[in-house]
């Protein structure tokens, strides 16, 4: 608190605001340009593919979001508690997306052997570890 006693809140230099603004404009131009270039797809498994144009567009969007959140919204200069609330907001969003997609993307996995199927016996063995540990501890 001692470093900003004269003003309430950190005063971000105008130079940084203008720099972030220019970076955001450049990234907007970049994402628009990249959309017209075929970056191709990579197939994973039998049913899914990674569309690299989508990956590029979303990566640039996340970069723009971070610039806005950190500098325009002052999170870079905010106390830990505020940062925790910000991170929690996006973390809860990530939980919703991850759990929904784990269902949505895995629906057609049944009845077809996948490369990861070889790991299933291993996973079964790992599941027994806690019970074995409990037995050892009791004896």
């Amino acid at each position: 608190m001692s470093d900003h006693a004269e003003h309430a809140g950190h005063v971000v230099p105008v130079k940084i605001y203008v720099g972030v603004f220019l970076a955001l404009l450049v990234l907007t131009g970049l994402t628009t340009t990249v959309a017209y270039i075929d970056l191709g797809q990579t197939h994973i498994g039998l049913h899914h593919e990674i569309d690299w144009n989508t990956v590029a567009a979303l990566t640039i969007a996340v970069a723009k979001m971070l610039l806005v959140v950190l500098f325009f919204m002052h999170v870079k200069y905010s106390p830990g508690l505020t940062r925790l609330v910000v991170a929690a907001g996006f973390f809860w969003l990530a939980i919703m997306v991850a759990l929904t997609l784990s269902d949505e993307l895995a629906r057609d996995w049944t009845d077809t052997a996948q490369p990861w199927s070889v790991l299933l016996p291993l996973a079964g063995s790992l599941a027994k570890v806690p019970a074995l540990l409990a037995l050892l501890l009791r004896s």
Binding site: L25, T28, V69, T82, M96, T100, E104
Partner: protein, 223 residues
């Protein structure tokens, strides 16, 4: 500390202006976390239905005007800069006319965004018969899936536009407050938390632009 308990800007439950400032920002961020989940639900639905109707959503995306979408992105980024500069002007003790100028610029840019959205984009969609439920005449490939895409398009951009309109109302209030000399380098909390809201609405558009306009084979005729 320069601020005493007698400062009119400091309410009694806070020890210092700094503590009051941090508490206000924290409260706004808690609200914004609920907004993240509010928009997040719509984004999640869009992701799932896009995966289920991929060719239709790509077809639908091709009806949108990328130039107008990119222009609007730039307009919103400009408005975020002027909003940040309005807060900066208050923080550094600039005159009320400087604060008002930045606030009015932010409002004009917000109005420009809505103007482009409503008068150029939505009007064109109506002319082309791409408004589900009211005026949908497209009967080409994947027509029912394209209709679904436009349901999402109007709901998402409409929800975003509603937030912009609320933001314009907030900015009007702030401009009136600024004209009465309410803000100074110690007290500018309404500017700061409204700025957080305005930047958040900008972030929503930063994701809507690629998701609706860009992804899905702009480079060719689709897959």
């Amino acid at each position: 500390m320069a601020h005493t308990a007698h400062s009119p800007a400091l309410v009694h439950q806070f020890e210092t202006a700094e503590q009051q400032h941090e508490a206000g920002n924290l409260g706004m961020w808690v609200f914004l976390a609920t907004e993240v989940m509010f928009f997040g639900g719509v984004f999640m639905a869009y992701i799932v239905y896009r995966a289920l109707h991929l060719p239709a959503f790509i077809q639908g995306s091709h009806f949108l005007n990328v130039t107008l979408g990119a222009t609007n992105t730039a307009v919103l980024i400009c408005s975020s800069l002027t909003m940040a500069l309005a807060i900066h002007a208050a923080q550094t003790g600039k005159s009320k006319s400087t604060i008002m100028m930045y606030l009015i610029l932010t409002m004009l840019l917000g109005i420009a965004f809505l103007g482009i959205k409503f008068t150029f984009e939505w009007t064109a969609d109506w002319r082309e018969g791409l408004v589900p439920g009211l005026h949908f005449t497209y009967s080409g490939a994947y027509s029912s899936g394209v209709q679904l895409f436009f349901c999402f398009y109007f709901f998402m951009t409409g929800l975003h536009a509603l937030h912009m309109i609320i933001g314009l109302g907030i900015l009007t209030t702030l401009t009136v407050m600024a004209s009465r000399g309410r803000f100074n380098s110690v007290y500018f909390a309404p500017l700061e938390v409204s700025g957080l809201y305005w930047h958040f609405v900008d972030i929503v558009w930063i994701f809507l632009f690629p998701l609706l306009y860009l992804i899905g084979g702009r480079y060719g005729g689709g897959h």
